[in-house]
Every structure is written in C-alpha cells, then in structure tokens.
Symmetry: C2
Subunit: 246 residues, 2 copies
C-alpha cells in the first residue's frame, strides 16, 4: 500500500485547499469497507467553517490542528439513519442497546481506517484525534447529533507542511500470539520495550518530567487513572443520553 | 488502493496455503497504523490448528468459514501487555475502566482494517466476522485471553476460491453531513434506500421470509431487539469479568 510504511501523523498543513471533489471521492471509496449486514452504521460530519472548528476545538483540548487544518472530519457510530428507515418501512428497530453501539462503533472505525489509508496514498496528511471519546457531549452538541449517533473518531486533514520523524513500533512477536495467548515473562517485556525505552526522545521525557521510567509517563501524566475514570463515567452517560443503554 | 473498489468478502478458500512469512509481513506492516500514545493496544491470535478452529466455531454460530479457512485471526483490545510492562517498571496502571476498553477497541479496529486493506492488495481473501462481540466469553476461554484482553474482530483468511458479486452501498450524501448533522426527510430515506430495496436478491429475501419490507428482515430476523438485548448483557458482563468496568 503506497506510503503506508513511511506514514506519520501530520499536524501542520499547507495553505493548499483540500478540494471537496477529492475528499468526496475518498469518502465514497472508503465505503467499500465491509459493514454489518451492509447497513453502513456510520456517518461523517465534514467541518470546513472556521466557526465550527473553533466550537469543536475545546472537546479536543484545543489542540491547534483542529482550527488550523483545512478540514476536520468527525466519524460517528450511527444507528439513527437505519432506525429512521426502519420506522418508515413499518419495521420496529431494536437498536437502543449496548451491542448496537459496539456494532456501530466497529463499522465507523473500520470505515475511518480505510479512509486514512486512502488519504495516505493520495499524499494527504491527517492526524487521528483520540480525544473524540473523551468529552463526546461537546461534539454532539456542536454537530447537532441526534439519538443513536455517537462520535468515535476525528481526523484533521490537509496537505502536509511538515515531515516528522517516524515513531517506533513494537516487534511483531510482542502482539502476535500463535494458537493461544501466551503471557509475558519479565524477559519478554524487557526485550519488547527495549527500543522504545532507549530512544533519546523518551529518555528526555523522563528527565523533564522527573520520572524514573517511561511507563510512569503514561500512568502518571498522559493517561492517568483519575482522568480515565472521570471520562469513563462521562462516556457511559453519553451512551445513555444517546439512547444506547436502554 | 489496489482492489479496494472491486473487493468483496470471501467465504470460500482454495487449498493453497497462506504462508506464515507473508501473513507475518502483513501483520507487521499493519502496525504502522496510528495508535494511542504509540502503545499499540491490541493483540492478534493466529489460529491454524484444526482443533482450535473447531473450538472457535460455535462462538461464530458455526459459520463454515471458521473451520474451512486456512487461517483465523482474532484481533483483541489489549491493555494487558501495557499493564504488565507498567507494573514491571514501577508504574501503577489505571486502565481497568470503560474508557480504556474503548481506547483498546479503537486501536484494535484501526489495526484490523489496515490489515484488511493490505490483504485486499495482496489478493488474499477474508471475511470479517461480526459475531466476535456476540459471545466473546467462548472466545476468551478458547484462546486463553487474560484480564484486560477482549476479542473485537475475527478474520477468516485464505486464497479466494469464489468470486462473489459485489454488494450495493448507500450514496455518499446519505452518510456525509456538511458542518452539522442534517436529519433525514421521508424523501431522503426513499431516495437513499431505493437501490437497496429494488435489488432482486433483497426482494426475494422478503418473499421467502414473508415480510412486507426489507427493513423488517433486519429488525425481525437478522438483528432482533431480543437478541441484541441478550448479547448486550453478555458483552457487558464480559467487560466486567475482563476487568474493564472497575
């Protein structure tokens, strides 16, 4: 797949516009991705207006890409359209439950990744914002998402104006298991995480933050138990409000 | 992207083996996909043994692909490896919560779809089994998945021995919204679902099942409220047992 092996997330974009026709073509092609019962349980909201980008930014901790990118895409799990169709066809939809949220999320995320791979091939830059599931209510309110629509992924998109260094990845054996899951020995862990822990950038992180190990950067600073618990409660509340926990 | 526009799910496979080196290369390349904090919150369990395929089959409603495919891949959200690493590095992981499950699921599904796109390019056939989240406990027991590992996606993989007709897709305007979500009028729904409803195959489904509309096939037979509710409860119970709801 062209450019996959050299890809990086792109956070700075040139002034060159992302033409609607190009993006529409890629969003249409991405729909060839497999989908549950061929129902296409997703929607994409395309944000181009500066005003809307400014409104979305706080939900993404005001990361500058949101307001600086020519286009922001919010991809949602969507059982709303299917349910409207069903009701209009004398059918009674039964999708106000957790499994249906998960089914919609799967469809939305598989679609998102085909779109990412297409953008890589086209030379378009993008950054995937994991913040989308942190404070989804702000996004729901801004984009006017109805019941049974939940935002899952955000992509900021534009032509690259930077060429960042590629980040490391764990070796294949660390995440592939043969026949059954084999638990990790202390030696396995040392071997698999050695490269990551040896990188100058990561050692600097530890120094700057006064942490003994890189893992502590993740547990104590980047993804803390306290934040995770607060955002878990918020996300569950959003699933309830959007009608997926009845 | 090569073969994307002509792709179909493949359920029948030739006797030609899927070489380990090829599959390993693709699984390694797919890891270039973006991932949360570069933690790669996923694992893949590769099933090649007939005995293990037979054990997995019931969790997938005994669909014949599971035992007939040369390879079955089960892709899991995995916070276990990261947590083992953290504990070994004097860090206290705080990932036994719902948000962390969702973060792992996102990582696992994005990875899965890049792998699918790579297999399409290679000419490998695969079928995505959505059943993975229906009765995950059976899969967990069979594959020996530890706490904080939950199966999300299954791919049956092999060289194609069939060339199925491509299925329809909804038009772009039905799932893309500009700036804000625009709700569907009755006319929109008629227009967007016209092609799907007019297909001979779908009209036959209605006749055979004695249903008035195609939507009723979905709500009354394929994805019923009763099944969805039972499987929602089961899935939530699995998240609890795997340590993601503490």
């Amino acid at each position: 797949m062209k450019n996959l092996l050299t890809r990086t997330s792109i956070r700075k974009y040139s002034d060159k516009p992302v033409e609607e026709a190009l993006l529409d073509r890629l969003m249409n092609e991405a729909a060839r991705t497999q989908t549950m019962g061929n129902l296409q349980l997703y929607s994409v909201v395309v944000t181009r207006s500066d005003e809307m980008k400014r409104k979305l930014a706080p939900a993404h901790f005001n990361q500058p890409m949101v307001t600086e990118a020519p286009v922001v895409l919010t991809i949602c799990a969507d059982f709303h359209r299917t349910s409207v169709w069903a009701r209009q066809r004398k059918a009674v939809p039964g999708y106000n439950n957790f499994l249906s949220f998960v089914n919609g999320a799967i469809d939305a995320l598989l679609y998102t990744q085909t779109l990412c791979n297409l953008m890589d091939e086209e030379g378009l830059g993008y950054c995937y914002l994991g913040t989308t599931v942190y404070m989804p209510q702000m996004i729901i309110d801004t984009l006017n998402l109805p019941q049974q629509v939940v935002p899952l992924a955000t992509l900021t998109v534009g032509w690259p104006a930077e060429k960042p260094q590629q980040t490391d990845r764990l070796p294949l054996d660390s995440f592939v298991h043969r026949e059954t899951y084999h638990d990790y020995t202390a030696d396995d862990i040392n071997r698999y995480y050695q490269l990551k822990e040896s990188l100058e950038e990561n050692q600097n992180f530890c120094k700057i933050n006064n942490k003994e190990t890189l893992a502590q950067i993740f547990t104590d600073i980047r993804y803390t138990k306290k934040d995770n618990e607060a955002m878990s409660a918020g996300l569950m509340e959003v699933l309830r409000k959007q009608g997926f926990m009845e």
